[in-house]
């Protein structure tokens, strides 16, 4: 091989498509010829670039689940020329009471995107910049993954102060948690991260002073959610305190956030605000994460005058989280004021935490109540001393270990009483002292134990976090190992149990090995022994049993779940699925109707979808379409539901419905872009095309269904009809033959095949297949008429 290699040669060389002798010669040439070598490298680089794009593409979430944030005011965009210092303003990210936050581009010394906050007019700019400069050194040494770096600060040409921060593509923690319906343990895990960030800042001598949801953002990277605390140093520089100017505009509208402000910050005269003010604000944030509401009613605060706001924050004891939650339950009609979120019902609040009211109340009562209340103490010496202390306490709670916080002790109440009644008799005082002593003894014992268990708590937390990470990446083995490690520390750790069961369900889908089933059931049994009131654990147990074919046991488990909480819809719906598998469709419909009547079904399309599927089998087409529209109002682009809709429309057998069915089928086809195509999409597209007299399209779609691995009965019968209509009698007969062979394979002795995929029911009925076979026969008979006449369209429904 003397000459240089052509492009063709290079491709053949790389694909190994050459005899060994030529290969060797090519290799030698490439070693010696710099030109060919670089051309070869360029080819490889081009391929790599393409593969990189392809990889990127695969990582993207499917469109239908993407949730968009509220639109940004487009009118606020600025021209490319607008610039503050070295920062080019790109667009408004948001606007608050104190200023506007911009997305900006920094060019020098590094090119990066930053968030730039410009403070509204009305502040003493020089003073703000001076205070910022004073704290700059301290801000610069902060380095923590959960702390957004403060990069710069200064004054604009117009004389307004501005701050530059690391740009965080996230949303407020409360919104993130609600949108993803995080349960209490997951919320607490995120909150621990927030505590760590605040702890880091405190260690560097920085107090945040304005911790609130909009300053605690959550962003998701590689499937893991991480909190990020922004705006460190901003409040200090602005000397933000509860003053009439900072919380009211001229119109008397409240714009600040006194809800998160500690009593000592509320004191206008207060000068010594320390790290414990942040602990208070963390407590309010935790309160909100748990109960969905604030310790003091925002509406009351917003109606109150300035002095009244101060008094409330300083003096009024807020209700415990669990008390607050039950009080919402009682207030049925609440006034909705402008600018305030409409109040949610307790049921909704529980829903957003993936649980039911009763369970949520049980979770909050006791330890969590006391942890939150310890943060909210008016007297800062009674709060947690550090953010770390608060984080450790929450870890203890998560691991079912004793926490330090408790109801106000007898000694404390006694001291308060004595302070108020100095003339109280000595005898009473002596008795009180006795109980004080005993309480102190108990408390120091609790403290010692807590310290012992602290290390263990940390280990368990670590295991669970890593396990959840693995789970998000679908690394089942790694996840399993971590959850098992957590269980070896604490055999009753509920989070480890539910996570372990969940990964097994994902991992094996419908084919759970017997040993795994047994283990999952015994794990859930253990969890249920500790607390039989967990309706969702009964449900998980029932589903596992159903997957392994133990229908009686599954029914029993769901019934127990309904006994402990009849308002939790999932047990009703899962029970119905078992009945459906047993072909007891009337029972299934009844239970699904019960599930749909419960609150939980207003945000889950599953029971509606299943109800529709059962109704369709029972011949109740109109009812089925009504249920489908409910399911679609909850989850508009669910492929399975759209397919069900196509089936229901086709069952109505009118020309308009057939057209609508085709449109829906094409929509489904457009939605189905996943790596493994759902063969039923092509199948139903074929039937929809048939209903519209599009024989060629129908045949092509059926072919696709067959290739995608659909049960051959359906695409074959569709092809038999299509070929018959097109006058291809022989082909049609061949397909009919194939259907007759496939029928016993698909149905055996039964009349129906019932599948449950991701909880959704799908029925295939033998009677339907047989009716279609008849249609194929008559299509062959009719074909001559159609060939002579109008072969397209024409018939409403064969």
């Amino acid at each position: 091989m003397a000459g240089c290699l052509s492009d063709e040669d290079l491709h053949r060389y790389h694909s190994g498509d050459v005899p060994p002798r030529v290969l060797e010669a090519a290799r030698q040439h490439l070693d010696s010829c710099a030109q060919c070598c670089s051309r070869s490298a360029a080819l490889i680089a081009e391929q790599d670039r393409l593969l990189l794009h392809a990889r990127e593409l695969r990582r993207q979430p499917p469109l239908s689940t993407a949730v968009a944030p509220p639109p940004k005011p487009e009118g606020q965009r600025v021209g490319a020329s607008e610039q503050i210092g070295p920062y080019k303003l790109l667009e408004v990210l948001g606007e608050g009471g104190l200023g506007t936050v911009w997305l900006a581009q920094q060019e020098q010394p590094v090119r990066r995107r930053v968030a730039l906050k410009v403070i509204k007019a009305g502040m003493d700019t020089k003073e703000v910049v001076r205070r910022f400069e004073a704290e700059r050194q301290a801000l610069a040494v902060m380095d923590h993954p959960y702390v957004a770096k403060v990069l710069d600060g200064g004054a604009t040409v117009q004389g307004r102060p501005y701050f530059v921060m690391e740009f965080v593509a996230g949303e407020p923690i409360t919104r993130y948690c609600d949108r993803n319906k995080l349960g209490v343990p997951e919320r607490l895990a995120l909150f621990i991260g927030v505590c760590e960030a605040v702890q880091h800042a405190h260690q560097k001598g920085i107090i945040h002073r304005d911790i609130k949801p909009s300053n605690v953002l959550v962003s998701v990277k590689d499937g893991n959610a991480a909190p990020k605390v922004i705006d460190f140093g901003v409040a200090k520089a602005m000397n933000q305190r509860l003053t009439e100017q900072t919380i009211y505009t001229q119109q008397g509208l409240l714009i600040g956030t006194p809800e998160y402000m500690s009593p000592e910050q509320a004191e206008m005269s207060a000068t010594d605000v320390d790290t414990r003010a942040d602990i208070y604000s963390l407590g309010v944030l935790l309160y909100e994460l748990l109960t969905g509401s604030l310790p003091y009613d925002s509406q009351i605060l917003r109606r109150a005058g300035y002095a009244e706001v101060q008094r409330i924050i300083r003096e009024v004891e807020p209700p415990r989280p669990s008390t607050k939650l039950s009080s919402i339950q009682q207030a049925d009609v609440q006034e909705v004021t402008q600018g305030v979120q409409p109040p949610k019902s307790t049921v909704e609040i529980a829903e957003l935490r993936s649980t039911d009211t009763r369970t949520l109340l049980r979770q909050l009562r006791g330890d969590l109540d006391w942890i939150v209340m310890k943060c909210l103490e008016k007297d800062r010496t009674r709060r947690y001393e550090t953010a770390n202390g608060l984080a450790l306490e929450i870890r203890r709670f998560l691991n079912n270990e004793p926490v330090l916080a408790g109801p106000p002790s007898v000694s404390y109440r006694a001291r308060k009483f004595i302070r108020r009644n100095r003339t109280a008799c000595v005898a009473a005082f002596a008795i009180l002292m006795l109980s004080v002593a005993s309480v102190i003894a108990t408390q120091s014992f609790r403290k010692a134990r807590a310290k012992d268990e602290e290390a263990k708590a940390l280990r368990i937390e670590g295991f669970i976090r890593q396990g959840v990470d693995h789970r998000a990446k679908r690394e089942w083995d790694g996840a399993e190992k971590m959850f098992r490690s957590a269980l070896s520390e604490d055999a009753n750790c509920y989070r480890a149990i539910v996570n372990l069961v969940a990964i097994q369900r994902f991992r094996y889908e419908d084919k759970l090995p017997a040993a795994v089933v047994d283990e999952c059931v015994s794990l859930l049994d253990r969890a249920l022994q500790v607390d039989p009131g967990r309706a969702e654990a009964w449900n998980a147990r029932g589903v596992i049993l159903r997957m392994s074919g133990k229908y009686d046991d599954a029914i029993e488990s769901h019934r127990r779940g309904i006994e402990v909480n009849e308002n939790f819809y999932a047990n009703w719906a899962s029970l119905a699925s078992v009945y459906a598998l047993r072909d007891q469709l009337v029972e299934a419909e009844k239970h699904l109707a019960s599930a749909c009547a419960l609150e939980g079904a207003s945000t889950d399309s599953m029971p509606w979808h299943n109800l529709a599927a059962v109704q369709l089998q029972l011949g109740k087409t109109d009812e089925a379409l009504a249920s489908i529209s409910r399911a679609k109002s909850i989850k508009p682009s669910d492929l399975a539901t759209i397919l069900l809709q196509v089936r229901a429309l086709l069952a109505r057998q009118t020309r308009d419905d057939a057209r609508q069915a085709l449109r829906a089928a094409i929509t489904a086809d457009g939605l189905d872009t996943g790596p493994s195509k759902n063969p039923r999409v092509a199948r139903l597209l074929a039937f929809a095309e048939l209903a519209n007299g599009e024989w060629g399209e129908a045949r092509a779609a059926a072919q696709r269904a067959l290739e995608a691995g659909d049960d051959p009965v359906w695409p074959r019968v569709a092809m038999a009809i299509a070929e018959g209509q097109m006058g291809n009698t022989e082909e049609s007969m061949l397909h009919v033959e194939a259907v007759r062979k496939a029928l016993p394979i698909q149905f055996g002795d039964s009349t129906k095949v019932v599948r449950i995929e991701q909880g959704l029911l799908w029925f295939d009925a033998r009677a339907e297949a047989e009716a279609l076979l008849e249609r194929a026969d008559s299509a062959r008979g009719d074909s001559s008429i159609h060939r002579d006449g109008n072969s397209k369209g024409g018939r409403p429904m064969p």
């Binding site: 498509d17 393409l50 593409l57 993207q60 944030p69 005011p73 606007e95 593509a169 949303e171 995608a708």
Partner: protein
């Protein structure tokens, strides 16, 4: 079937060619949907924008002289969808309270034009991959993506698809090359 855009644009002018519109729909509907979503529209609003744009394409296409040298189609489509999204935002902005809020999705860090470029490229690639799958067959395609894209270990993929390592390497090179050709064909002279 000819899949270059030049020919696709010619074909959708022909009202009798029903598959052309389907092909067009398959590429550009998801693309517009993704772009609208990236620009911050929620599901229903994004659907509206997409529908509006598809109708506009349908109505204008007959008068649309496609000139492969000028790259007009891409620019035209980008202007169309951008204007629509902007109008929607502007109308809403008037009656919506502004909240202090940071943007969520990392994709939204991109400026609209950068975002359009990215979606343009990626959605064509997605379509090219579908064509590749059809051409190569499901089994070969599955082995290819498992190894070349998902980065599964050679031994695992070989075992699963009953291939020798050498065959797998060949497959990777051959299909990547084919994918690259298909993408170039799809993008035409515009990129």
């Amino acid at each position: 079937m000819d899949t270059t855009r030049a020919s696709l644009l010619l074909r959708i002018k022909d009202p009798a060619d029903a598959t052309a519109w389907r092909d067009f729909d398959a590429i550009y509907r998801p693309m517009l949907k993704r772009f609208a979503t990236m620009r911050g529209l929620e599901h229903a609003a994004a659907e509206d924008v997409v529908q509006h744009c598809m109708v506009a394409v349908y109505e204008h296409i007959r008068g649309f002289e496609y000139d492969p040298k000028k790259g007009r189609f891409k620019g035209w489509l980008r202007t169309l969808v951008n204007n629509r999204v902007r109008n929607l935002h502007r109308n809403r902005h008037e009656d919506e309270a502004r909240t202090q809020d940071f943007r969520r999705d990392q994709e939204r860090e991109l400026a609209p034009d950068e975002a359009f470029e990215r979606v343009w490229m990626e959605e064509h690639l997605r379509h090219a991959m579908q064509l590749l799958r059809k051409e190569a067959g499901d089994a070969a395609y599955a082995a290819y993506t498992a190894y070349a894209i998902d980065g599964k270990p050679v031994e695992e993929v070989c075992k699963q698809f009953d291939l020798t390592a050498n065959q797998l390497y060949k497959l990777k090179w051959r299909l990547t090359q084919r994918l690259s050709e298909m993408l170039k064909e799809l993008l035409g002279d515009e990129d």
